[in-house]
């Protein structure tokens, strides 16, 4: 039974109206159902989505929000499509990063923006299969949203919902493809020879796109590139979702215009900044920055890169003065070692080595006669040597920590470790056996 769905009536929302994605949420943050979604945004222009949608995405300058910041139009353009090649499109909501919660937040509160984006991608690329890949606890909820849409005939291609395993690397593009190809484990594969965009799921061209990116696509398709560029900067247009840890009592997911000073995003005065040792941008594959760098940094990937970090999937974690930063680093590196796929020799040996060396730096610095040189050497040895980017991320995390926490490194190596090495850690490192069903309530 299909009821016709009207396109949105009335003028487009102001280009400077903010928040955008989260603008549809009520003050209680309750999930937005299909009726409320259609009343606010109207139906997505799926029927007319073709090459001109890719042109719109190109003009909008939107980039991927899963962590790689790759231009969306370039990615879609690189996927062969047409009569002889029907691609698979995947909305990636695996979000294996424990310090990130924005994708789960978006999927539980605003699933229809994501599903609109997925159907737009399917239409523009003439895909014959569309998949939403989300953590197990979110599957039923997303399925219910898909069902509601089916009754209204909103999606040209049937949408399948598939559970992502609960592990850090589950969201790596090639891990996603391995699960969709029926493997039981989310293991990355070597894509140096045949990129997933041309040979992915069932050897078909495959688009794996982060769920937040698809939500932005859903609005760009409706309101156009000029509207999208009404917020953000020339180089980094639009808005992004950010997960902030350590600033307030609980982690908070928020939306912010790109280019906004991070001190404003975090509502942090110079006095308050004194309460923190440093900040981690981009999560466990991102990089540490000093508080003075953070206070002068705009929210943009090029700026974060210049500071030897990355915004990654939008994680900002502030480290309070109540913990030992080197103990935090050691805990996270051990977690990242446990979470590795264990497929590539340099990563297996290198991450185990880094876990051991960072433990030594935090707890037994006398066991590190060579100081940090030995740690940096192992970082160089793992960088770029895995099938996926997992080891590269750990290398950046460790290198940046050694550069930012220089005072602590010096005092540890001089035999004066801080008194806080046994303080309760603040960066989340879920134990594999202690992972709970998180549902939408984690944040």
């Amino acid at each position: 039974m299909r009821a016709p769905v009207a396109a949105r009536r009335g003028p487009a929302p102001e280009a400077t109206a903010f928040p955008r994605l989260l603008g549809g949420l009520g003050s209680d943050g309750a999930p937005v159902d299909l009726e409320a979604h259609l009343a606010r945004w109207g139906a997505a222009p799926v029927a007319s989505a073709g090459a001109d949608l890719i042109d719109k995405l190109s003009a909008s300058g939107v980039t991927g929000h899963g962590g790689a910041w790759f231009p969306v139009a370039t990615k879609w353009d690189s996927i062969p499509h047409g009569r002889f090649s029907r691609p698979v499109v995947v909305a990636n909501g695996a979000e294996g990063e424990p310090a990130s919660g924005k994708d789960a937040f978006l999927l539980t509160r605003l699933p229809h923006l994501v599903l609109d984006g997925l159907s737009l991608a399917a239409a523009a690329l003439e895909a014959s299969q569309a998949v939403v890949y989300v953590p197990g606890p979110l599957v039923r909820m997303v399925e219910a949203a898909v069902d509601a849409r089916r009754h209204r005939g909103l999606d040209p291609v049937g949408i399948q919902v598939i559970a992502a395993p609960d592990r850090f690397i589950a969201g790596q593009e090639s891990s996603v493809v391995s699960i969709l190809n029926g493997r039981r484990e989310a293991l990355p594969s070597f894509i140096g020879i045949e990129p997933i965009r041309t040979r992915g799921v069932n050897n078909r061209p495959t688009l794996v796109q982060n769920v937040e990116t698809l939500a932005h696509v859903a609005l760009i398709a409706r309101f156009g590139p000029t509207w999208y560029r009404g917020l953000g900067t020339e180089q980094s247009p639009g808005t992004m979702l950010v997960t902030v840890t350590g600033r307030w009592a609980a982690p908070v997911v928020m939306e912010a215009p790109l280019g906004m000073p991070l001190r404003d995003v975090l509502d942090l005065s110079p006095g308050e900044a004194e309460n923190y040792l440093g900040a981690l941008l981009g999560g466990y594959g991102g990089g540490w920055v000093t508080m003075s760098t953070l206070m002068s940094l705009p929210l943009s990937e090029p700026a974060a890169r210049q500071a030897h970090s990355s915004l990654g999937a939008g994680v900002v974690a502030l480290l309070p003065r109540t913990v030992c930063p080197l103990a935090e680093v050691a805990r996270v590196v051990s977690y990242m070692d446990e979470q590795a796929a264990g497929q590539c020799g340099p990563c297996i040996h290198g991450l185990a080595g880094l876990a051991q060396l960072t433990q030594a730096l935090a707890f037994r610095p006398s066991a590190l006669p060579g100081g940090t040189r030995s740690i940096l050497d192992v970082c160089d040895l793992v960088d770029g040597r895995g099938a996926c980017r997992h080891p590269d991320g750990v290398a950046r995390f460790v290198r940046s920590a050694l550069a930012v926490f220089t005072d602590e490194v010096t005092s540890h190596l001089q035999g004066r470790p801080c008194q806080l090495t046994n303080a309760r850690g603040v960066l989340p490192c879920p134990r594999p056996d202690a992972i709970q069903s998180v549902g939408g309530g984690r944040w």
Partner: protein, 85 residues
């Protein structure tokens, strides 16, 4: 005619660190402390191509590939070849 530019790529999942490549082609392959190859991704000059080819075909795991370097025009413009196949 411009000669195609070849470079070596190792599949780190297949590689078990047998070390044959470093033995046969030290010009571009060295060993890390754990016995896994560090492959220099510089272009391979024509006079070294035979050595590279031998390293590729001698790998017991078939983990080493000689590939045509990707065009700088983007990741879509790839043209690779498995000379071993």
């Amino acid at each position: 005619m411009v000669r195609r530019k070849l470079t070596l790529v190792v599949d780190p999942i297949l590689c078990d660190g047998h070390g044959v490549c470093a033995e046969l082609f030290p010009e571009r392959v060295s060993m890390d402390p754990w016995g896994f190859p560090i492959v220099d991704n510089e272009d391979i000059p024509v006079q070294l191509e035979d050595h590279a080819q031998r390293a590729v075909s001698s790998c017991p795991r078939l983990a080493l590939h000689l590939v045509e370097r990707r065009q700088s025009s983007g990741r879509a413009g790839r043209k690779e070849k498995h000379p071993a196949s």
